[in-house]
Amino acid sequence: MNCARLQQVLDAHIDGELDRATSGEIRAHLAGCAACAALHANRSALRDAVRAHAPRHAAPAALTTAIHRSLARAGKPPRAREIMAGHRPSWLHAAVFACVAALAGLMAGYWLAQPRPDHPLREPAVAAHVTALASGKQLIQIASTDRHTVKPWFQGKVDFAPPVKDLAGEGFVLSGGRLDQVADKPAAAIVYQIRQHTINLFVWRSTDRTPDAITATSERGFSVVTWAADGLRFAAVSDVDGRDLTRFARLMAAT
């Protein structure tokens, strides 16, 4: 890796888009080249500044309301749809005429039509845990104690960003991650060790966005702790004591 080549791929490196070998070469070069290390520091600072200062605009409530209303109309039989296409009301117009009662009814309808929470998936999570431990090398596909290596590895592999935290100070040492499945749903599995115990943290996406409190149970003698937040479902499985696993879950769920 020379300076010119490094500068070409520096952004991809910072974005966690390079394979481990190339990133390793980059780190080695940065350690020995002050000029490139300065570029790297500048670029990291820029990215931090963008993330800190550029606002992520949230959709205004009125827009959300108007969209739900338009979609409810668009979903109706063709006659209504033709009217929509020819003469689409502005969102303001729609918002003004938004009928609270109809909307409330609609929301209740969505609520009832939503699939029920996909917990308990405790047994499938335990099954995935056992399978991963049995096959040994399958347990970890990306081995690293660095969360900045493990988290980006999931990019492009699952359609969500699983939280990966450094909890070594609390005794939970990150050892890596892999792709897995929980009851046929693609899941990110993040692997931690505490003392001699392996913890598999399964994360998958759920259509049910209702948050769910941390719940500890046991299944086949394994401790299982589940919770849900942010449209993601979590199941931590381990043979460690249930209290340790609950502590782990609290640390993971803390924002």
Binding site: R47, A58, G156, D208
Partner: protein, 178 residues
């Protein structure tokens, strides 16, 4: 699929990304009302073509639809008015003077915001998708419809430009203070 099942599914799979959609639209149109129009339009389009949704990332698919709606909105507006007068005013002396009024600790935040807003659109969109929406190069490549290598080079170039502008703003600020 019946329409009855389609709407709740659309809500769960696509509309959960409404904030991301609006954010992209705000940065692309640089106009709150325009962003709302574009997102509204995009939602109707996405709903119409929801049955054709393929691939692993519903977010990326929806963002592509939103991006098209924004470009349509910009084109429509350009047909009616002048070509994006917003850009040039940012880096004139007038803008610099108003910068001066900003508290020093807020300056950086403001320069970052204005710096991104002033980037040419092809750089702005990849920067927003990457640094604010945290999408992967692969997803961005699908949304913007260019190869991954192009995503990479546009991001690099965009960040170069942003960095230059921040440096300039800081230097200008320093000169005015001394």
């Amino acid at each position: 699929m019946s329409d009855n099942g389609k709407l709740p599914r659309f809500e769960a799979v696509v509309l959960v990304h409404l904030d991301a959609a609006y954010n992209l639209a705000r940065w692309l149109t640089r106009d709150p009302a325009g962003a709302e129009d574009a997102v509204q339009d995009a939602c109707l389009r996405a709903f119409r073509f929801f049955d054709q949704l393929q691939g692993p990332s519903a977010k990326a698919w929806f963002m592509a639809v939103v991006r098209h709606a924004c470009y349509d909105w910009l084109q429509k507006r350009r047909a009616g008015a002048g070509d994006e007068p917003f850009d040039e005013t940012l880096h004139t002396a007038g803008a610099a003077e108003s910068l001066e009024a900003t508290a020093v600790r807020e300056s950086d935040a403001r320069w970052v915001r204005e710096g991104i807003a002033a980037l040419p659109r092809e750089y702005r969109e990849v920067l927003v998708l990457r640094d604010l929406e945290e999408l992967s190069y692969k997803e961005i490549s699908a949304i913007v419809e260019v190869p991954i290598g192009t995503v990479m080079s546009r991001l690099s170039r965009g960040r170069d430009l942003l960095q230059q502008r921040l440096t300039q703003a800081r230097q200008m600020h320093e000169r005015k203070r001394t």
